[in-house]
């Protein structure tokens, strides 16, 4: 991260600071001057009707898209030009709306791959099997097993990830993201396709993750889940920020209501 410089004037307690972020797709503004910030340790819900630009925003924070204008600062450092894979090392992890586990690998291996940025062994270490590499491998496995226990997936450790039921795949995705030891975790519609029991379990998991000190951003259509989990909610509509506030404030906000009822 050679390009990153501390941005002055941002209090350190904010983990993510987005300012006037704009993204164009062929002349259409997918994101128009979005600004908000997230304090350390909270859960921030991100809601909005379909096409509001939630996933686009995620893609810009995680370095998949480059914004056309505006700023994204992570822990006070500008990350606009940092490549996606370095951002994971810096501490931003995400899950996808559609489950994207590595289907030809076992669940345990998926978690181990998730630790890629926190481990070192390279080509020569692997070939020569130096003690440090073996030690790292042992530690990785132990930690992966801990993570599986934390997410309640122990029984499936040696099953092929592609063979797991959809709900477990969603949880597994979160476990893999946690394996990179993130400071900020972005969850893209984690409850989509889950039944009420699974959604309830997901809520529990999100709380557990929050207790372990990880800041989260949550894109979700399940309003009761968002309102229950979030300390703060940002509402997007048609690429613009419509509102920001506590769940209670958002529930009473008239602009939000009309956007959701289809008048806006």
């Amino acid at each position: 991260m050679t390009q990153s410089e501390p941005t002055p004037g941002i209090p350190a307690k904010q983990i993510l600071d987005v300012q006037n972020l704009t993204k164009m797709f062929g002349g259409v503004k997918a994101q128009d001057q979005i600004s908000f910030s997230i304090e350390k340790g909270i859960v921030c819900g991100l809601i909005g009707p379909n096409g509001a630009g939630k996933t686009t925003l995620f893609n810009m924070i995680t370095g998949i898209y480059q914004p056309d204008a505006g700023k994204v600062a992570f822990n006070g450092k500008d990350i606009r030009k940092t490549p996606a894979h370095r951002l994971v090392k810096a501490g931003i992890a995400r899950t996808f709306q559609h489950v994207e586990l590595f289907s030809s690998m076992t669940l345990l291996e998926n978690i181990l791959v998730g630790m890629h940025v926190r481990t070192q062994a390279g080509f020569w270490a692997a070939v020569t099997r130096i003690p440090a590499m073996k030690r790292e491998e042992r530690q990785s496995r132990r930690r992966a097993e801990e993570l599986l226990e934390f997410t309640g997936l122990c029984a499936d450790a040696h099953k092929m990830a592609g063979d797991l039921p959809a709900g477990r795949q969603k949880t597994a995705q979160i476990a893999r993201a946690l394996a990179s030891e993130p400071l900020l975790l972005l969850l893209d519609e984690p409850a989509a396709g889950l039944n009420p029991v699974e959604t309830h379990a997901l809520g529990k998991l999100i709380q557990k993750i929050k207790q372990s000190g990880i800041t989260m951003m949550l894109v979700e259509h399940d309003m009761s889940l968002v309102m229950e989990m979030s300390d703060k909610v940002v509402v997007l509509d048609q690429g613009k920020k419509l509102a920001e506030g506590t769940p209670r404030q958002i529930q009473r906000n008239e602009a939000v209501m009309s956007a959701y009822l289809g008048n806006g």
Binding site: I64, A84, R94, E109, H116, A121
Partner: protein
């Protein structure tokens, strides 16, 4: 896990014994020669298997590195009289360097573009070998490659060369296996399953693909070196597009499944022409059919496809 590891070590031990036993017992130079070619082809298959089978990156120009290895050692040791062992180092270095230069932009491509790029690269190398007659001997080939020697050992008789080649193959298999069981190997397979996701979990996919491309190129150059000092005469046809396809076929047959797949693929493709009389006529039709049929019905490769079929059949019964 420990049990599995031991099991694999036993596999290798059995393999080592079988290969050595064959080398000591067989007096027939023809058989030894065939086995030596199988070994050389296995090296090529192993390299491409890492790139194509595990990482999912097609290369239709792998024969180029085979050619670079063979011609580098031929020119250095044949024309300039450099010690062949030193020229082996140069051959590998040349392949690594070229793979780096070519791979840097090429591996940013994927799918069709990557296939076309590697195919074009293979063609260019072949044209250079063919046209640079003053150095390479051109289309008529390169004569005068010295025989390998190490102290009192002369690697000419069937058995000596056989052991040299299979020793290297064995080492290469161990290296590949260790690589696959490591952090790097997992990341490679992750790229195969989903490159975008791999980036999103923090893998520098471009760097890793480049590393494995260079590794495959180095193995190819070693194979080229062994080939050149074995047959002592090389010509451009041995390193053309058709040979690149042959290596791809080895990987497809061997199944993009395990280190053993490369061995199986190389064995089948080396033996086929020997077993089938008048094979040359039908070589292309057979390769073409094999490639199509396997890919249509078993996109993970023949060995893996058959293994999957057995697994599902077993599951259906229980």
């Amino acid at each position: 896990m420990a049990i599995k590891n031991n099991y694999i070590r036993i596999e290798y031990l059995v393999f080592l014994c079988a290969v050595s036993a064959f080398g000591f017992v067989t007096e027939n130079t023809y058989y030894l020669q065939i086995m030596t070619f199988i070994g050389i082809n296995t090296l090529l298959g192993l390299g491409l298997n890492m790139l194509m089978g595990y990482t999912g990156q097609v290369s239709l120009g792998h024969a180029a590195f085979y050619g670079i290895g063979a011609y580098t050692t031929a020119i250095l040791s044949g024309t300039y009289g450099i010690n062949p062992w030193l020229s082996l180092v140069c051959a590998v270095a040349a392949a690594v360097f070229i793979a780096f230069i070519v791979g840097l932009p090429t591996l940013r491509l994927s799918g069709y573009y990557l296939a076309m790029g590697t195919l074009g690269f293979g063609m260019i190398v072949n044209i250079v070998i063919r046209e640079w007659a003053a150095v390479t001997g051109g289309a008529s080939g390169f004569v005068g490659i010295p025989v390998l020697e190490a102290g009192p050992l002369i690697f000419m008789s069937g058995a000596n060369y056989y052991f040299l080649v299979w020793g290297i193959v064995f080492a290469a298999m161990i290296v590949c296996r260790r690589l696959l069981a490591s952090r790097t190997g997992r990341a490679l397979r992750a790229i195969h399953d989903g490159e975008k996701t791999a980036v999103a979990i923090g893998i520098n996919t471009h760097l890793l693909k480049l590393e494995i491309f260079i590794f495959a190129a180095a193995l190819g150059a070693v194979a080229g070196f062994l080939y050149a000092h074995f047959v002592l005469f090389i010509s451009p046809e041995s390193f053309g597009f058709m040979f690149s396809i042959k290596i791809v076929t080895m990987v497809v047959i061997g199944g993009m499944a395990s280190v053993w797949g490369a061995l199986l693929g190389a064995t089948v493709l080396t033996l086929l022409p020997e077993v089938l009389h008048g094979f040359a006529e039908y070589e292309m039709i057979i390769f073409g059919t094999v490639l199509m049929v396997v890919m249509i019905f078993m996109p993970q490769g023949l060995t893996r496809g058959i293994m999957d079929m057995i697994r599902t059949a077993g599951r259906a019964r229980t």
